[in-house]
Structure formats: structure tokens, C-alpha cells
Symmetry: C2
Subunit: 527 residues, 2 copies
């Protein structure tokens, strides 16, 4: 069963080896475990629903609690501290477009705000209720494969299908979508579209923007059907308005996606580079060489160290480090993971070219072991949040994207902003960064920071707010986008205007007004 | 010098060999040459400008005539017949953003409609004046390379730069944009963006949508700056609103494009397949195999025949046909051109894979000769319009894109619609089609039709209108987009609503209102 106040399924946990814990204590100081509120306690505080009764709507308190929050740090503080604040007045689980339209009618009549809900994995507050009477629409029953065109590599799903169900149905037919965000096990196709999600292998398969071919959106003012053209020059592309609309225009009920035949070969290789500068140069040249790669992921030296330390295989890591030292790759080593996917002949040629580029920058290829480990654990890392919280630490991530010339300063600027906003003199934190999605024209930057919980939930939240604000301001100041893959929600909304401009913001607001004249859709998010 | 009433530069002409002419007469009947109006005649009919004087505005009659029309068939009928109808009251050639803003102010005060003008190569009426007093803004003096980032593969140009000037500056630095629409020699970067242009090698380099990283748009209500992020999840992508905006939002003054290092190897190969069905299967499988191709272009059997006949090398073609017949590729042969571009090792692997797929469908690879010829003449074909008009024929093209399962019926449907709308009993026309841009998830369809001029310009225009209407209705009925690469302009505007939907059309209209509250930008185009 899904954890109500943490990440993921309650049968899975991420054990931290002793070496990992020691590493954490060294860098972030001692943890400060807090007492969590339990479910029963939280349930007692749930206010009465303000919705009129409707056969499609549950006002069950447990349902409402389980749909109240996502996975942002403020969400965690609220859930663990048992201070849920506002929560939805009801939850509906429509099974058809008709039921979605019926719920839109009901909400319009009752003056209720609607929140479209996919997997509940938002880390920026996309699905949190405001003060108005609110109905959360859980879309996970809209999960069927509706059309499958193997010749044309297109599949249409109910937009509430979760990652594993989508992939399983495609794989059974010899295909893949290739979209693997870290939230893959729980997040939904519609959620990916609404938040402009990027999968770990987007270098090969494309971001959701290029995978989403069309679909159906049901909004208060009517239905928008987006045909699945392979391309079009017929005016502005309305898919790109739905992508990133974060529930403000309506509810995506169906989505057609561009699928690919399963690759002949897929392998993940690890290369260690001697330092951050050479690592960036190698990674940049590899991504600009136009090879057949599906992933590049480059860790800074501190993240490389943290990754190895948290893995906890001390003897194995020791052997690796001795081997690398012989090849002049020392303590400032940076790990580059490469996914190579496709036809055998192209994979072979691409691997050779990529390793030659890395080698020219002093990179040492250590084979597939680390890549395989990474793949095995690709969706497990968020479970570390549960483990660390229990040990008295909060862990959060933030991310941006910028052009190549801005990458070094952006990494340094974000890390410095986080460090500069620590709680109190003597308090420590640890911060490290990787480039998670590389492009020929720039890179995303993904920073992880760990800090001990505060003495009270308010302290933890205030500390996080200071850090988040400092980092977000650094991102804006240095000309990055406020989000490369998490979306805007409420946490990033104050920082959207600088990159969209006045006319851009006004246009997005007008689009919302066209689809949702009374402003009942996911009010307060995005704009 | 640019022809004022035909395609291209007046020092270039496309000679039709005797065999080509015979082929045309056989299929389209005898030509009916018409007397063209001459420039002096047209000049005499130019009305007085209705604009107040302004130092940046020329109201010279020759300037106005030369900016009056594009390259659509109605434009040709107007220009050749000397019946220009409405034309702009003035032409301005700004050299800076400040001058563009000054012209926006002038137009707002004077109540004048503005038409942004790039290369004047529109084939759907993008740049034609309406009845209101109109100022055409010729942007070709905004043509400088403003920023160049070789490490980050980004270049910023004044948006009025024409194709050859853009490529020359990039090539001198070891890079290419790789954007080669047929209009390349005359059309501009800003025009490509505003009309969602697609280059001949978009399979490798991407359509202008993926090449356009950001830029600056000056509109009546203000300035929109689009930052050149490599990717972003921060809400709807406003680049995709500017792309295809056809001058309705404002004037693109600067554009940053994603560039690529010049490829190690580029080669164009020809393969002949035995029939249309096998040709489509081969092309589709090749494009779905994820190879390193920069172009796939597949002609139907009638277009293959026309291409070979119009080339006029009868002995060479005879030899080719005997060779193909030995390999069981006969009279229903279809020509597939493949561009393979990139690193040597990947080009080699990709060529092998592509030829193996083609071979499995009975395809015969005849090497690079036809491909080289195609490349040499890639921008020459539109000059055939001049030659044919002089011989008494009109030639026009239309295009769409659809999913793979819709391709065969769409090709047949468009061709049948055109044939069904011929002028009079006994009148003939010739029509043939190729797939110009192939995608894993569908294809564009590009149909050429040739017909004898009517007895009067009105007859020619009426005939064209019947054909265009019939073909456009067929495209809409069969679920294609009304344009894959030409845009909407005025000719396609009546067919836009079916694919955008009511909410979509309303959203585009509202976006226009945000940027251009008084409706002074390129009125009557797009929506």
C-alpha cells in the first residue's frame, strides 16, 4: 500500500549501510529525529466536507487525507507533523470521459474548485487544496489502452494510467514509451503531460513534449481534441499549451503517445573523469556528437563521493579508487553514466565514439557494473527520503536548466545559496549536484541537499523556505528556468514571471480564462 | 535581381528538355500561353499611398509592387495578369529593434495595418495586403549575427537573415543550422519561425520548432523575450505560440538557433522499390529504425516517372530502367531518396541498416548519382514554375501530414479531389505526389499538380480555386493537418478550425488580443 506520509509503497524500504550513515553525519551533522503524527491522529482533525452529496464523490476522511498532499518538503512537514491544513472536501474516481464531464458540471453548479490528481507525486504543490471547497479528481481509473497502432507507433491510453501499467502493456506488444521519470512507478501519463515531465532516458526517447502526440482535454468551457499529427505548420501548437498547463485548463482524459519498438540493445556504462571541468567538457562533447545515447548523467565530485559512500560497499569502492588512481583519476573524480540504446551496429559505433571522447579528457571506463546498479535502483532512490527522515534528516532536490556557458556558475550559485541559508551558526548541511539531462545546447542541473530536521516542524519549514528562496532567486538571477522537470505548482509560481514576461503571463492567464471562465480548475497553481 | 512576377533570381532559369515537354503535353494536354502584364503597366495602376510621411517609410510604387504578393497561385495570376488588387501603401526596412518599435508606434498612431515581410516566398498569402491602409515591414536588413556560442551550439541572428547568409556565417565557423526549405535561397529565419517551416533534412536536424531556441518579438503591446533554455517544465512553452503566429503577435527581431557542428559525412542515396505499397513499408520501417538519417523522400510511381521524364536524360534513364527490370523493379517503381549525415562510423552503420530494410522489400540501391543530382538541384525546382508558365501551364503544390495508417488514402483522396475538379470536359491535368518528410509516426504528403492556363486569368483562378477547395476538403475529411510546412495565411484559414477546435481557435485569438489589442498586426491571416 502507498505510504500516506512518505514516499512510495510501504513494502519497500531503502536501507542505509553504516558507512552511508557515517558519511551523512560527517557532512550534515547529527540527525534530529522527530515524532511523526499517526494516521488516526490526523484523521481526527479532518473537518466535515463542504460538498453537496454526489454519487461519484467520496467524502470519506481517509480518502481526503490520502489525496491532500504531494511530495514536496512542505508536504512532508505537514504530513509527518500531522498538520495537514486545508485538504480536499471530496475525492472522485471517474471511469469515463462522461463521468469527468459530469463532475465538471457538478463542480460548476456547486461552486467547487477541482484538482486533477494523477499519482500524487508532485514536489511543488500541484495537488494541494486551497481555502475554497475543493474536489480532487483522482484519474487513475482512466487507465485503459484505448487504441494501439503498431505500424504507426502510436498508442492511446486513458490519461490516468501509471507508468508500470503503461509500459507493461506496450512491452507485451514489443514497444516502449521510454519515459522513466524517477516517479515512474506511481505517476501517470496525464500528470507527465500536465507538468512537462522528463524521463531519465529523454536523451534518446525525448521529453514528454515530444512523446505526447495528442489527446482529449475536458474543460469547464468544453472539450479540446488534439489530433495526433506527426507534425503541422497550421499555426501555434496547442499541445504545447496543454503541456505544462498543470490542471488549469481542464482534465486530460486521453493521451496518444509516440512509441518505439523495444531496442535491440540497451546498456548503461560508467566513466570516471579526473575533475569537474574535464567532466563537463567530455559530457558536452559527447552529447554534441549526435550519438545513439539514451542517457547522460554527470555527477560533480561531491555527488560522486556521496553516491559511492551512500552505496556503502566500502571494500569494492576502495578497490575502484585504487584502480582509478593508477589511471590518474583521483579524489576529484566525477562519474558519468551513459545509456546507449538502439540497434546493435549503432550502439557499438556510438559506444566507441563516446568512450573515445571521454578518454581524450582523461576519462576511465569501468564497464557496466555501476550502470547496471543504477538501472536496478533507478526508482529506489526516493525511498531514501523515508529512511533519512526517520534518522532525523530532511532531503530535498531542486533543479533548473541553462545553456552550457551558464552551467558552472549555476551549479556553484545554487550550492552557495543553499549553504548561505543554513538554519543557525554551527548547523550543517550537505549539498551536491549532478547534470541529469544533457542537451547539445545546455543541461539540466539537479541539486540534492540534506539537512537535520529542526526542533519543531515550523523550524524545519522555515529553514527549507529560506534555502528554497535563496536557491530559486539564484536560479532566476543567473538566467535559468525555474524548473526543468518538476513544474511550477505553488512553490515555483513566484518565480515564473521573470522567464515568461508580462505578455507571456497574460497570455497564459487568458488561455486559462478561455477554457475555464470561472476559474474553478486547480486555482492558485502555475499562474 | 529577384523576379517581380515569378520565382527567384532573374539570372537563373530551368530549361525543360524536349522529352520533358513531350511528357507534359501527353499528361496535361497542350499548354495555353498567356500574355503577361509588364512592370510598367502594373506601375501605372498603383494607387497613391494613404500613409502619412515617415522617414523610415518608402511609398515608392516599385517598392510597393515588389512587396505586394508572394508565390501562391492566386499571387501568380495577379502578378502575371497585372491585376494586383490591394497592395501595401508603403514599405519600411528597419535596421534595429528600436526602428521596429518606432514603426509600431507610427502604425498605431496612424491606424495602419502592419505586415511583417521576410523573403516574400509565402505560398498561402501571408504577406498580402487587405483593404486597410497597410505598411509592409521588410525585415531583411535585420540580418546580423549577433551572438555566437560555439561551445553551446547556439547562434543569435537578426531575424531577417536569409538562408544563404545564415548558413555561410555558420559554415565559416564550422557549424550548420541544417534548415533547408525549398525557399532557402530567399526566405528568412524569422519567416521560418513565423510559419513553422520544415527543411528538407528535418529528419536529421529537426523542424524549425526544435531549432528555434528563443528570441525577441516586438508587438504592439510590448516586447516578449524568449530565453534559450535547452528545455523547461515551467508551464506552457511560449516559443510554440510564436512559432506559427504568422505575424499576428508582432515582429520577431532576433532569433537564437540551435546549431550543429558540420557533419563528417553527408551522402544522398537513391533506392528504387517495386511498387507503392512496398515502398511505403520500406520507408516507414527505415524511419522507425532510429538510424542516422537526415532525409527520406519517397515518390509515388507517377512522381517517379515524372521526375525521370522531366530530367530529360532519355538514354541514361533507359539504361537505368533496363537495370532495374533485371532486378524485378518495373514500371510501378518508386524512388526513395535517403540523406545520411553525421559521424563516419554511424553513417556507415546506418546506411547498411537502411539498405538492408529496403532490400527486404525488393528495393534496389543505385548509389549516389540521383542523390547528388537531387542535392545539386534542391533549390532549383521552383524555377520550373517560370518555365512552365511561359509554356502555358500553371503548377502548384499542396501538402498535409497524417499518421501512417492514413497515408495511402490521403494520397489517393487528394489526387482524386484534384482530378475531380478539372476545368471542363476534355481538359487534362497531371498530378503526382511524394512523401517529403517522414516521421516514425506518420508522414507529410506533398502533391504537385500541373494544368494548362485558362483562357483568361479569371478562368485560371477559378479552376485553381475549385481544385484547392476540393483538395483542402479532402485533407480535412480524412483527418490531416491543413498544412505540414506552408502555413495557414489566407488560403488555409477556412480549414484551420476543424483541427484546432473552438477552444483552440478562441485561445489563439485571445493570444493575438494580448499582444495586439487593436488588431493591427497582419490582419486577416491565420485566424
Amino acid at each position: 500500500m502507498r505510504r500516506w506520509n512518505g514516499w512510495g509503497d510501504d513494502t519497500t524500504s531503502y536501507r542505509l549501510r553504516p558507512g552511508g550513515l557515517r558519511f551523512l553525519q560527517t557532512w550534515a551533522g547529527p540527525g534530529r529525529p522527530a515524532r511523526d503524527a499517526d494516521f488516526a491522529e490526523v484523521m481526527k482533525a479532518v473537518p466535515l466536507s463542504r460538498l453537496p452529496p454526489h454519487p461519484l464523490v467520496s467524502s470519506d476522511a481517509a480518502d481526503r487525507v490520502r489525496h491532500a498532499r504531494g511530495q514536496s518538503l512542505p508536504d512532508w512537514v505537514a504530513l509527518r507533523g500531522g498538520r495537514l491544513g486545508t485538504l480536499p472536501d471530496g475525492v472522485a474516481r471517474p471511469t469515463s470521459r462522461e463521468e469527468v464531464r459530469e463532475l465538471l458540471r457538478f463542480a460548476a453548479q456547486a461552486g467547487v474548485t477541482l484538482i486533477p490528481y494523477g499519482g500524487g507525486t508532485s514536489v511543488v504543490g500541484h495537488i494541494n487544496a486551497g481555502p475554497m471547497p475543493t474536489l480532487t479528481i483522482d484519474l487513475r481509473r482512466l487507465n485503459r489502452l484505448l487504441q494501439f497502432d503498431d505500424r504507426g507507433c502510436l498508442a492511446t491510453f486513458g490519461a490516468g494510467v501509471i507508468g508500470p501499467d503503461l509500459e507493461a502493456q506496450l512491452r507485451a506488444r514489443g514497444f516502449t514509451l521510454g519515459h522513466f521519470p524517477q516517479s515512474f512507478e506511481f505517476s501517470t501519463l496525464g500528470g507527465w503531460v500536465a507538468t512537462r515531465s522528463s524521463g531519465q532516458q529523454s536523451l534518446g526517447y525525448g521529453r514528454i513534449e515530444s512523446l505526447f502526440a495528442g489527446g482529449v482535454l475536458e474543460g469547464p468551457a468544453g472539450t479540446l481534441s488534439l489530433p495526433a499529427f506527426p507534425a503541422s505548420a497550421a499555426g501555434p501548437d496547442l499541445r504545447e499549451l496543454v503541456l505544462g498547463s498543470e490542471g488549469r485548463l481542464g482534465i486530460l482524459t486521453e493521451a496518444t503517445v509516440r512509441i518505439t519498438a523495444l531496442p535491440q540493445i540497451e546498456a548503461f556504462h560508467a566513466v570516471f573523469l579526473p575533475d569537474w571541468e574535464r567532466a563537463q567538457a567530455a559530457a558536452r562533447q559527447i552529447v554534441q556528437a549526435g550519438l545513439h545515447l539514451s542517457m547522460l548523467r554527470l555527477s560533480t565530485a561531491p555527488e560522486t563521493e556521496a553516491t559511492l559512500a551512500l552505496a556503502g560497499h566500502e571494500r569494492l569502492i576502495g578497490a575502484l579508487e585504487r584502480l582509478l588512481a593508477l589511471r590518474r583519476v583521483g579524489p576529484s573524480k566525477c562519474m558519468l553514466l551513459m545509456g546507449i540504446t538502439g540497434r546493435e551496429s549503432l550502439v557499438k559505433a556510438s559506444r566507441k565514439e563516446a568512450l573515445a571522447i571521454a578518454g581524450a579528457h582523461g576519462g576511465v571506463h569501468i564497464g557496466r557494473l555501476f550502470g547496471q546498479e543504477w538501472r536496478k535502483n533507478r526508482f529506489r532512490l526516493p525511498y531514501l527520503r523515508n529512511t533519512l527522515w526517520d534518522l532525523g534528516y530532511a532531503i530535498d532536490t531542486l533543479e533548473t536548466a541553462t545553456t552550457w556557458d551558464g552551467v558552472p556558475e549555476m551549479v556553484a550559485g545554487i550550492e552557495a545559496a543553499l549553504r548561505g541559508a543554513t538554519m543557525a551558526p554551527g548547523e550543517r548541511m550537505h549539498v551536491f549536484t549532478h547534470l541529469s539531462h544533457l542537451y547539445p545546447h545546455g543541461s539540466s542541473i539537479y541539486t540534492t541537499y540534506v539537512f537535520p530536521l529542526g526542533a519543531t516542524p515550523d523550524d524545519t519549514l522555515a529553514h527549507w523556505q529560506r534555502m528554497k528562496r535563496a536557491a530559486s532567486e539564484a536560479i532566476v538571477r543567473k538566467g535559468g528556468t525555474i524548473s526543468h522537470q518538476h513544474g511550477v505548482g505553488v512553490d515555483h509560481a513566484p518565480y515564473l514571471a521573470p522567464e515568461k514576461g508580462e505578455l507571456g503571463m497574460a497570455t497564459i492567464r487568458e488561455a486559462c480564462r478561455v477554457f475555464d471562465p470561472t476559474g474553478m480548475m486547480n486555482t492558485g497553481k502555475l499562474v
